[in-house]
Symmetry: C2
Subunit: 345 residues, 2 copies
């Protein structure tokens, strides 16, 4: 009897292991765990000096014309790297056109913004600083601000050794990109991909299986479970205009190709349960509802309640450990620093 039991236990364990391996093999076709080191950047070597400078800049509200907004305002590192609003509030209390995406792991996206119009985070960083509805500043004013504070000038020299006039707008963007490249959040899903069978619950594994089998992973794949590739929102069935506003044609405004109407970059799904509300319009606050909308609009699938719950459980396994960030101490303004202005032009 003991022998039979042992054999049974061994068989079950083997079957379990084989099952886990099968699911992992299947998952490996679509996903990759986060790298264990900071990703290499395009023409931007990451050094400790550059990361420190980038952190200072990321938190500095003086990069905005009003002095109210920093990168951190809409990419708040205490709340999942975004701002918990439909669309961000910016200069003059204007509302931005699209929901603020998380900065966490953003370095691993193929391109930045909902329409992929910036090729990397350095290019991205220059956008909101100049956008009239966001930080409403100019490269010239930013450079005047940075160069008015000797401490910043020294930090730029250390981060970009040997460069003349190192404290410039391009280097600002590169330093911010270097800091943001450190914002990588390893999650239970990574532990599981790396071989820890116990890192996911049974529901999360069932959700992962559904995620692949239903076809979610056709678009939301890769290391960020999304963040690359462009797809029409409403591939099978267009959602209502309250979720997909008619005026925002997505990638069409980048490519001016009719095929790109209402096309958006597939959202990266890491930390998605920390970053409501959802979609470029930010109109959906409940992750389960967002999952149901996606299933209908992109896959033509009506999910059972249990399926939706399991998919949400799997998405929860993508929520990772945010690196500890200590607040930088920024240089004080000098008499030469441009003064903040809340005026709306």
């Amino acid at each position: 009897m003991r022998l039979i039991l042992s054999a049974l236990v061994a068989t079950t364990a083997l079957a379990g292991a084989a099952q886990a391996d099968a699911l992992r093999d299947k998952a490996a076709e679509f996903f990759k765990p986060l790298p264990s080191t900071i990703p290499a950047l395009n023409e931007n070597t990451v050094t400790p000096e550059k990361v420190d400078l980038g952190k200072a800049l990321f938190f500095d509200p003086r990069l905005s014309a009003s002095g109210v907004f920093s990168c951190y305002s809409c990419h708040n590192l205490t709340t999942g790297g975004d701002d918990n609003m439909e669309t961000s509030v910016g200069h003059g209390w204007q509302k931005g056109p699209r929901n603020s995406p998380t900065v966490l792991n953003a370095v691993l996206n193929e391109a930045q913004f909902w329409d992929g119009r910036a090729e990397d985070l350095a290019a991205q960083a220059k956008g909101p600083i100049q956008a009239g509805v966001e930080m409403a500043n100019t490269p010239e004013a930013v450079e005047a601000t940075l160069n008015s504070m000797p401490q910043y000038v020294d930090w730029f020299k250390a981060a970009f050794p040997g460069e003349e006039n190192a404290a410039n707008f391009d280097n600002m963007a590169k330093a911010i990109e270097a800091f943001e490249a450190t914002l990588i959040t390893p999650a239970p899903f990574d532990a599981w991909l790396n071989g820890d069978d116990n890192a996911l619950s049974a529901d999360q594994k069932a959700g992962l299986e559904l995620f692949i089998d239903k076809g979610c992973s056709s678009c939301h794949s890769g290391v960020n479970v999304g963040g690359h590739g462009y797809y029409p929102f409403g591939l099978i069935e267009k959602p209502g205009s309250e979720i997909l506003p008619v005026g925002d044609k997505g990638r069409f405004s980048v490519t001016e190709t009719a095929d790109d109407e209402y096309v958006f970059r597939a959202s990266p799904l890491r930390n998605i349960d920390q970053t409501a509300p959802y979609f470029h319009s930010g109109k959906v606050w409940d992750l389960k509802v967002a999952v149901q909308i996606m299933a209908e609009s992109q896959l033509g699938e009506e999910l059972s309640d249990q399926e939706a719950d399991q998919l949400v459980a799997f998405l929860g396994s993508l929520t990772g450990k945010v690196p500890e960030v200590t607040l930088p101490l920024l240089p004080a303004e000098t008499t030469g620093t441009p003064r903040p202005t809340s005026e709306v032009k």
Copy 2:
């Protein structure tokens, strides 16, 4: 010869020491070094759990109606604990009536706000959250927000053990006060008061001597070099209305006593060179100019250029070491969390 030289050196050293002691004795009549431990609070025991909760609340923009502003927005710990603006920008892009004071060492002020209308930081914390031009929220909405997130409810239980409905508006304020009580910044001036003769430069010592002799320390005294006592702005000569706007009668609005017209709490001067612009109106950006205005309006003194520089040098010795603050990780909203609204009522 060697003997004579040695004697001379000894005498000079003794004279220097005696001089240092004399200045220190004089300073001790007006000032006190920062305490080496967190100050005790009024009916609010400081515990690690309360400090951690208070830090989370301090950084949480969901305490504002719009989700845009947290305590940190106007009391930015990266830039001296204030916001580097004349007056803060708040809900609906409205401008606040007075310059945002630093939160650093604020726990040691006798009372809070420019007119001292809040007796402590717990009372103070409730003000901006409810002010229509700042965070524009209500105690009821704040409590709904906090109680919608189980993690917050647990944190409140740990910080206020044994209390029913611990996640309430009063406890929120107490927790914020406990966190803010940790924001103490020991400065070179403290080291000098504590006996380190080399902690101040010759110019700083000369500035300190002037600060006492000219009479600045009659109002700016105590552990925060100000922050207690109320005095008319323009005791000898009223500054122009661009600096002292006619509409803001200061403490008069608290006491409704004619004597309190244009009376304000003497500013605490710690970290003053990090917190431009100056005065309740925030109209002066240059610390030297602010010192000159004070000398004229409060003491009827026209300072020489050297005197003003030495006073500014002394004030620089009040800039201290800001404690390292790691960003908290806040709980995610739930479906029950009140949604942010940028609407202006």
